[in-house]
Every structure is written in structure tokens, then in C-alpha cells.
Symmetry: C2
Subunit: 370 residues, 2 copies
């Protein structure tokens, strides 16, 4: 039997996630496993909740990391907040908005969706008109569309949703820890993220937060949450209160990783981390320009941490990506769905957002596109 | 800001899980993160599927680790195999059977359950009679009831289920890797486990396997699986085939841990590992006898890896466990539900099942119960 783990060479992760992981987070993953009811572990859990609150600027009591990847966070928000026949509006301009629609439909919601062109943001006027026509139980949108590199006007949409009376759900998988997320100020009622983007922790956990209004909806459900594993009314009994009722065995070592990842960001200072993401984005764009490469998204709505690049005519998409990975150990992402073969996605998330990484990618691309 | 990770001292985990983790698994967790579509990672995925098949003795094509803990595995099996109104029989003699009932009910199944006394096994005659009366879509039982220390006659129940026509679902969270599990020989159609028991990997993943009959049920569903995250019809498109369609970002580093944990067991030899669990169980029982401690479960149906001990009269349950943890860094488990305050649960799972660990616990208990 050959152990394939022995031959793994550290890649430079410049795709849409997972992103590079710092040495301190790797070390945290290997810290001795504690029991999930050990008082020492419970103290860590309390810190983790506090760290997440700081990164998304909320005072929400119900703020926990879900024991699954970002998509489990999406599932958690919908399955806890939606009941059969609830009216849901999903604003779609990429893969993850489309996924939200699918998740909500599977749960029996009556889903309306407004589709915007991929690579462009949600248009406020269109949303305003729809919200004026119909009352919804929930309105959902993606903050940072990882599939296109577009930033949606989440704060502005939040203002429109207030008057409608709907709960407001935002996907912050790619934005959290890399750009401003102001959950409370933006009137967001439910938010989920993932560890493998700007938090620079390996994939496996999904921070989730619910406002008091969202908790109210959960508490007043007519039916049990049709998902035992993700039922927040039970999960919160383990994550808060004095009794700490066992629900499922928490992913202890992954939570060490998340603890360290948040700790590192707060130590550097969230504002500094956001500034670093912006600066590296500007550097990347200017370097790409020198190579003659253009961005897919209009400047004013570009994400700093996910840069969609138009693949030049005549260039072999898969071939370049495969050679980058094999020969240079650099991973970048391809396009998804209608954008397959049309764009590359270069991530500058967390630990990846550093000058030396951009330089290494530019050197490699220079040779490859020559 | 104080980093609480720095003060963690390795505990001896002798509770109902998580169990002790070997140095090689800790090291695996800290191996550089690869992308989830990296060919090198896909080769690891293929090995992991093969390793799981060996540990549960199956040829099932659909064998994958789910991106969540053991309870996510339970949820996965039910949500993929059950449709609204399906007839389900759950055999209950502990916490995890009870959980199965709850999961199935939430999914809209018409659930019958037969309850057996906690601490005793499922009685075959009772099951036979029930199956003769009614046809079920699915019959579910726990192999190793972690809440009581009882082994259920899973092979024998399997023979009864064949004639009924139902699918047969078995919880092997605590049994896999510590005792014989013969999925194919025992006619099991769906099985789930967890990493933090006899596999001695930290919690976070749940190996799941479906027989061809189970896959048939999934393929012929009238409705979409009402859980996007755990929909095996999509997850398998990422875990097998040539296209490797992205579903959710796999928990890469946890999967390294699972790879190494399975690798270590197969290297030691599954039969040797099972033998070690049995021998350590016998040693523990004889050592407990010297201390005047009795087991809660009758000898013929005891689990080797989960030993339920009657708490002697006048002994302070929580006090002893808390002192064991604080003063000796040894964790043992308390009783759940009706068994709270009545039993301790001593785990001998995976890496924990070693002579020196039993000796350390006995020395500590000797002092404490004097």
C-alpha cells in the first residue's frame, strides 16, 4: 500500500477557494482533540462565536459555525427559515444564486427569482418593483458571487427589503473576512459563510448568524425543521446556555482551525486585512494589464478577492490551467456554467492576497501566454 | 487577545467518542490543502472510497464520506431513501435509535417504532412478528448503541428484512473499524459511520455506503431529495465518474485525516485491530472487576469498544468525571437520557484501545473511588 499523502506538494491556491492556509492554522488543526463537552473546548466555542460576530459586525446571539461547508450554511439558513409554501424571492446573477433557488424549491417554498446577466450586479430598480408588487417571507441574495467576480449591492437591497417585511438572507461565503460585511447595519437577518475563502482555513465549516427576527421565525415555526442535523433550535442548545446539551459531536479540530483563522485576522486587524485585499486586487489588475489581460467585470462592481479574467482568443483554457498546476503548482479556477471556457477566476483570498503570490502567478502566466 | 489554543493539554479520550487520535493522523490534518478538483486530490478520494469499502466489507460503488459528522450520515441515508409517506420501521434501544425515529418523522415518513429496554438488544422475534404484519419501505437499526454499550443482532435482522422487501439501514458509527461489519453479507442496503470512534480520526466526516437496491430507490424517486447539501445523486457526480462535477467544496484536510486513519487500520490489518479491541475489552472488564465495578450490559451482547459501567451507590457521577478530567486529563462519558447518573461510558475505540490507557484509567479510578 502506497501512502499518497506523502507526495503532496504545497500548491499556491489562487482559485475561487480553497485559499492558502497559514502555518498557524495548519498547526491548530493538529492540536490534540478535546472532548466536545470538555469545559476547555466550550470556552473555545464561546470565543469562536465572538470572533465571528466581530468579522461580520453583528451582536446576534445566534451566531455559530455549522458543521459542514459553505453550502451546508446555505442549507441551514433556508431549512430553518422556510416552511412549506413560504414565499421566497431569490436574486440570481451566478451559480450561487441559482443554488439558493434550488435549495428553496426543494424545501417546498414558492420561489420567485429575478435573473440578472452573469457578470453584472443585481439591479436595484428591478428589485424595488418586484418588492412593491408582492410580500415575501424571505429575500435572498449573494454578496460576493464567486462564479463571476461581481459584488452585489447588499446594503442597498437591505433597505428595500425592510419595507416589504420579508426576512433578508445574504450569502457571505466569499466576502467575509475580505471585504466589509455589516450584518446589523445592512439589516441582514440571516447570513452564512465558509472557512475556505478569505478566512484562509481549510473547507469544512460554515459560520452562520441569525437576527432576532430570524430567531423569531424559527421559534414560531408551525412544523419541526425538516432536517435534524441542521436544526438550529437544537444546535444552539449545544452552542450556548449553561446546559450545553449534546446534539452532534462537533468537528473539534476543524474548529481549532477556525479559531486560529479568526484570531489571526483580528490580530492583523480586520480593517488592515480588508485594505490588503483591496491593494492586492489593484496590483493584480495592473499586472494583468501589462500582460494584455482584461477583467470580465466592470470596475465599479468588481470583487477584490475574486477576479474574473477574459480568456484571450485562441488560448487553451484547460491546457493553461493544467500546466500552471502541474508545472508551477499554481491553481487558478475556470469558469462555471455559461462562463466555462470564457473566464479564469483568480482568487486573492486571505493568505493568498500577498504580493509574492501575485508575482509568482504573473511570472508563470508570462511564460505560458508568450 | 489571549490564544486559548496554546494551553490545550492532550487528554486521554476514554469516553464515547471522540477517541484518541494517532500522531500520523494529526500530521495528515496539517498537510498542505489541495484544491478540491486537483487530480492529486481526486486520486486520494478514490483511495478513500476503496479503504472504506474494505473496512465495511462491501463492493458498493456508492461509497463516500459525507461532509459532516455521523449524524449527517444518518440524515443523508434517510433523506435520500425516504419520500413523503414512506413506511419506515425503526428498532429502538437507545439514543441513536430514537434519533433515527426523529429524523425519519421530520422527513414525512410514516414511522412505526419498536422500543426495547435500554441496555438490552433488539429481540428478533418481536421484529419477525412486526415484519410479518406489514410491508415497509425501510427498516432501520443501530449496530453498536453508543448510549448503552449494546450490540444489536444486525446480521440476523438482515435476514428477516429480506422477506419483507424493505431496504435495510444500519448505523455503524461506533462499530466500523472496531468490530466486524459485513455490509454485503448482512444484506445491508445503507450504512453510515463516523470518523471519531474506532477510526480514531477527529470528528467531521461520515462514511456512507448504498447497495444497488438503495441506489435504485434514489434513482427512481418521484421527488427531488429535499436536501441539496446531502443529495447523493449530485455528490456522487463529484466523487466518481470521469467528469468530477463540482458540488460543494470537499473538506480537504479532514479527508487527509480520514485517509490516514483508514490507511493505519489497513496497515495494522483490520482483523488485528478487531482482535485488539476485543482483548482490551476483556482486560478492562477484568480490571473493573478488581475495583468492584460491574458492567451494565449482559456479557453476550456487550460491545468491545463501549463499556457501560454501573455507577456504585453513593458515588458522585459528575464529580468523579470532572475530577478525572481536571486532575488526570482522562475523559470518560456519563449516561444519556434515562441512564444519566446511572452509568459511565468507557470507550476503547481505535487508538484508545491500548493497555497503557486502561492502566492509566484504572490507577486514577482506584484513587478516586477509594
Amino acid at each position: 500500500m502506497q501512502n499518497k499523502l506523502n507526495s503532496i506538494v504545497q500548491p499556491l491556491l489562487m482559485g475561487p477557494g480553497p485559499s492558502c492556509v497559514s502555518e498557524s492554522v495548519y498547526q491548530a488543526l493538529a492540536i490534540p482533540t478535546l472532548g466536545h463537552l470538555d469545559p476547555e473546548f466550550i470556552a473555545l466555542m464561546d470565543d469562536i462565536k465572538g470572533y465571528i460576530r466581530k468579522l461580520i459586525k453583528t451582536d446576534n446571539q445566534l451566531t455559530v459555525p455549522i458543521s459542514g461547508t459553505g453550502s451546508a450554511g446555505m442549507e441551514t439558513c433556508f431549512v430553518n427559515l422556510i416552511e412549506q409554501g413560504d414565499k421566497v424571492l431569490v436574486l440570481i446573477n451566478g451559480v450561487f444564486g441559482t443554488r439558493m433557488e434550488d435549495v428553496a424549491q426543494r424545501l417546498g417554498a414558492e420561489v420567485d427569482s429575478i435573473k440578472f446577466e452573469w457578470g453584472t450586479p443585481v439591479i436595484l430598480d428591478t428589485v424595488r418593483k418586484q418588492l412593491a408588487q408582492k410580500n415575501y417571507d424571505l429575500v435572498a441574495v449573494v454578496h460576493a458571487e464567486t462564479s463571476t467576480g461581481v459584488c452585489n449591492p447588499v446594503a442597498e437591497i437591505g433597505k428595500l427589503v425592510i419595507d416589504n417585511g420579508a426576512l433578508y438572507l445574504v450569502d457571505c461565503v466569499t466576502s467575509m473576512g475580505g471585504m466589509e460585511v455589516k450584518m446589523d447595519d445592512w439589516n441582514i437577518d440571516a447570513l452564512y459563510s465558509g472557512t475556505q475563502k478569505c478566512l484562509s482555513c481549510p473547507p469544512g465549516l460554515s459560520p452562520v448568524s441569525f437576527s432576532d427576527r430570524a430567531v423569531g421565525k424559527l421559534t414560531n415555526r408551525k412544523t419541526k425543521v425538516p432536517n435534524w442535523y441542521l436544526d438550529l433550535s437544537m444546535i444552539t442548545q449545544y452552542w450556548s446556555g449553561s446546559a450545553r446539551v449534546y446534539h452532534h459531536t462537533a468537528p473539534i479540530n476543524m474548529l481549532y482551525g477556525l479559531y486560529q483563522a479568526c484570531f489571526s485576522i483580528l490580530e492583523e486587524g480586520l480593517e488592515n486585512v480588508i485594505k490588503r485585499h483591496n491593494e492586492m486586487h489593484i496590483l493584480l489588475v495592473s499586472e494583468l494589464k501589462i500582460l494584455g489581460l482584461e477583467l470580465f467585470v466592470e470596475e465599479s462592481v468588481r470583487l477584490p478577492m475574486l477576479n474574473a479574467i477574459k480568456i484571450p482568443n485562441g488560448v487553451d483554457d484547460a491546457g493553461v490551467r493544467s500546466r500552471l498546476l502541474k508545472d508551477c503548482h499554481i491553481e487558478i479556477g475556470g469558469g462555471l456554467g455559461p462562463l466555462a471556457g470564457k473566464i479564469w477566476r483568480i482568487g486573492l483570498m486571505g493568505e493568498t492576497a500577498k504580493k509574492e503570490n501575485i508575482q509568482r502567478l504573473m511570472d508563470a502566466l508570462k511564460t505560458m501566454l508568450r
